[in-house]
């Protein structure tokens, strides 16, 4: 039968394409895997208790990275404090309250999407001009957190919005039909069922915040501080900026590059740990979801 012949060819085409897809994935796995392996195999050697808990010494050729770890944690927390409540409430307003056909809404949404694509270094300049200079917060944790928080706002809003929209209309209608008012419906029905999506948004933003260097270069981070920051108005060290500093400003590459490997490992582990927590949460929320 002619059809059978034709079918053989169709399967051949399928196999060729699927092989290409397999190979692409394998290539990516190999490349990224070897990058990580390379960094870890060198970085793990320098990590010890002292490295994690001591401050840098002798022009950053010895000692640890404790202030940088603490600084990065401060910045991450500070930025979440700024972005999460603001992001969730804006998203709720945009999806649940504002009339969808309102032209202003479309403009706002477009603006948010545009902001999401703005390079982080531009946010850095913005933070420099506004928080550091105009508000006079100086190069500090506060300026950095505000900058990072605003930077991650679009990501948080869009993903929360998306998560809210993914909740089937029937859920809302069912709740409203039972006589619940709008806010109760959102709080008891819509938000819980969109939790996985909201958490995904948070993963994205936390990971981004922890690793960002450009926005804090001018607003929060310095290569070296004496001790830990005492107030939100103090500058901090930060892991990514520390790596950058060790590589570019180094005077003793032979001693500093190993430290950079160690710092890189800590930074990667930090980001991965944050992600794991979020993925775990998302998984739990998904499992308990009944639809």
């Amino acid at each position: 039968m002619i059809e059978e012949n034709n079918l053989k060819r169709r399967y051949l085409v399928q196999n060729i394409w699927f092989t290409i897809f397999w190979l692409s994935m394998i290539l990516i796995a190999v490349v990224l895997g070897s990058i990580l392996y390379f960094i870890f195999s060198r970085g793990v050697k320098v990590i010890n208790w002292e490295f994690l808990t001591a401050a840098p010494r002798r022009g950053m050729t010895e000692g640890g990275i404790f202030p940088a770890i603490v600084g990065t944690l401060y910045l991450v927390l500070g930025s979440i404090v700024v972005s999460l409540p603001l992001g969730v409430f804006s998203a709720i307003y945009l999806t649940e309250y504002a009339s969808p056909r309102h032209p202003a809404l479309r403009a706002i949404r477009t603006a948010i999407h545009c902001l999401a694509g703005v390079p982080s270094v531009v946010f850095g300049l913005f933070g420099l001009a506004v928080f550091v200079k105009i508000f006079g917060f100086g190069v500090s944790v506060l300026s950095g957190s505000l900058t990072l928080g605003i930077m991650s706002l679009p990501v948080v809003i869009t993903s929360v919005e998306e998560a809210l929209k993914a909740v089937p209309l029937s859920f809302r209608e069912a709740s409203l039909a039972l006589g619940a008012n709008k806010w109760t419906t959102i709080w008891r029905v819509v938000l819980p069922s969109s939790l996985p999506g909201i958490l995904t948004g948070l993963i994205l933003s936390i990971g981004r915040v922890a690793g960002e260097t450009a926005p804090i270069m001018f607003t929060a981070a310095v290569f070296y501080t004496r001790g830990l920051p005492q107030s939100p108005f103090d500058p901090v060290m930060a892991l990514p900026y520390h790596i950058y500093g060790l590589i570019t400003e180094g005077t003793r590459p032979d001693k500093q590059i190993p430290l950079a490997y160690g710092t890189a490992v800590v930074l990667i582990l930090l980001v991965i740990a944050v992600d794991f927590i979020a993925i775990y949460w998302r998984g739990r929320a998904r499992r308990s979801r009944k639809w």
């Binding site: 059809e3 059978e4 034709n6 079918l7």
Partner: protein, 252 residues
């Protein structure tokens, strides 16, 4: 008795550890409408999807027994499910046109089969739309999106799409359940008109629909085939107590 198009022999279907169909035996007569009725969750859709191997896509599915179509077991080793599905078409519960134009929806199956001749494709599309009683409503807007059609029109489009590749059997899973009474009536009318060329298996929730549209009826309960016979007889003089209970609305 008439010619038998499809023989289902001792068909059991498991999802994981759960057995959903228990040794179902059923002969589907050619050029008739066979309705499958039964309470929700009794395995109607599963039975239907077994007939064109659409259950293959689920994880953890295990299928025992045979379905003999055209002298061959479609679950035999070496039988290609793609060919089976080409010859046994399916219409789904909710209309699911592709996000393409009306024309391209119907032409889709033909293009997949390797049809290249534009003229031939066009003729087949027109023929299918006419057979699906949709032609008059769409002939002026063949190239607008299928989503612009009403629900009932979309469902008839899906029927047109399914018959364009000229399958021998047409499986329909509650094709009218998402439609209003008028659209339902049109689809039922259409089903009656299609049996000249096709053998139809129709899953339905709606007893009246089974009574109106089918020639034979199979009653399924908890994955077991309880009774099968001419629709008339099933509805007026059921042999089994379960069937009677169901039809008189005592459960389900």
């Amino acid at each position: 008795m008439e010619e038998i198009k499809l023989r289902i022999k001792d068909l059991s279907v498991f999802f994981g550890k759960k057995q959903v169909l228990h040794q179902v035996n059923l002969n589907i007569p050619a050029n008739k409408v066979t309705a499958i009725i039964g309470p929700s969750g009794c395995g109607k859709s599963t039975l239907l999807r077994s007939i064109n191997r659409m259950n293959d896509f689920f994880e953890d599915v295990r299928i025992e027994g045979e379905i003999i179509f055209d002298g061959n077991n479609i679950y035999a080793e070496g039988v290609d499910p793609v060919t089976v599905r080409r010859r046994i078409g399916m219409v789904f519960q909710t209309p699911n046109p592709f996000p393409k134009s009306i024309f391209e929806n119907v032409a889709y199956g033909l293009r997949i089969q390797g049809w290249k001749n534009k003229k031939a494709i066009e003729e087949q599309v027109v023929k299918s739309l006419q057979a699906a009683a949709l032609w008059d409503e769409v002939k002026d807007r063949l190239h607008s999106s299928a989503f612009d059609l009403s629900g009932g029109q979309q469902q008839r489009l899906c029927i047109a799409r399914a018959i364009a590749v000229e399958p021998e059997i047409l499986l329909m899973d509650e094709p009218a359940s998402a439609l209003d009474p008028i659209a339902t009536a049109r689809v039922e009318e259409l089903i009656r008109s299609l049996i000249k060329k096709y053998t139809i298996v129709l899953v339905t929730h709606n007893m009246q629909e089974a009574a109106r549209a089918s020639d034979y009826t199979a009653f399924l309960l908890l994955g077991k085939l309880i009774e099968f016979g001419p629709t008339n007889q099933i509805f007026t003089n059921p042999q089994k107590k379960e069937t009677e209970d169901y039809l008189t609305g005592r459960f389900g």
